[in-house]
């Protein structure tokens, strides 16, 4: 039973345009959400996060939006750059316990 779902396996975007990666979750006890970026042959690296008490968090070109009522979050990358091409994982955490639950990932390709 997947608690965190990334329903788009891949996304292709033109350089300079906006990339929007989506994530849905089912567990209403999740209180913190993170996005990780992973290049081939490397470990995931933390990108941006958001607490469940917020609906938006911005860091440079990256913005994460949280819609708690819809149990949906999205990552916006503006403008997209070829170096953003990677696999993006959405992850969620509960207050008690230190585990993260990851989605299946979305492969982003930014074409120049």
């Amino acid at each position: 039973d997947q608690q965190v779902k990334q329903n788009s396996p891949s996304l292709s975007v033109q350089e300079g345009r906006i990339s929007i990666l989506n994530c849905d979750y089912t567990n209403s006890m999740f209180d913190y959400f993170l996005w990780y970026k992973k290049y081939p042959a490397e470990g995931p690296t933390f990108l941006i996060s958001i607490s469940s008490i917020k609906d938006k968090n911005e860091d440079g070109r990256f913005t994460v939006f949280l819609n708690k009522s819809a149990k949906h979050l999205s990552l916006h990358i503006v403008p997209s750059q070829p170096g953003d091409s990677a696999v993006y994982f959405c992850a969620a955490s509960q207050e008690y316990g230190n585990k993260l639950v990851f989605g299946a990932g979305t492969i982003l390709r930014v074409k120049s």
């Binding site: 470990g43 995931p44 955490s93 207050e95 230190n98 585990k99 990851f102």
Partner: protein, 121 residues
């Protein structure tokens, strides 16, 4: 910077061999994790540890065991490797979170090693 290192980047083993994957972190983190990453399945948690000599099963512990004798080191053991254990193995570490207002963003973030690509033939 937090550094998580894994003993091998690539490993090739034969079916039935006992395999050891080592992970070391240098930031005095209490928590350590082992995941495997497979296409279309994301990162799945195999085992994790909150403290030395403590371990808990994750979502897919079958065929694996772990050892944590020192705080900085967390080992994953494949008792008898099988071809369906061919995968990318990722180790991670994190700080122990508090609860409620004591919990900060740094409590949630896990830091990953570069991964070990294991092939079992």
């Amino acid at each position: 910077d937090v550094k998580v290192t894994q003993s091998s980047r690539y490993l090739v083993k034969r079916t039935g061999e006992k395999v050891f994957l080592e992970c070391v972190q240098d930031m005095d983190h209490e928590n350590m994790f082992w995941y495997r990453q497979d296409p279309g399945l994301g990162l799945r948690l195999i085992y994790f540890s909150y403290d030395v000599k403590m371990k808990e099963k994750g979502d897919i512990p079958e065929g694996y065991s772990v050892s944590r004798e020192k705080k900085e080191r967390f080992s994953l053991i494949l008792e008898s490797a099988s071809t369906n254990q061919t995968s990318m193995y990722l180790c991670a570490s994190s700080l122990t979170g508090g609860s409620g207002v004591g919990r900060t963003s740094s409590s949630y973030e896990q830091y990953f090693g570069p991964g070990t690509r294991l092939t079992v033939t």
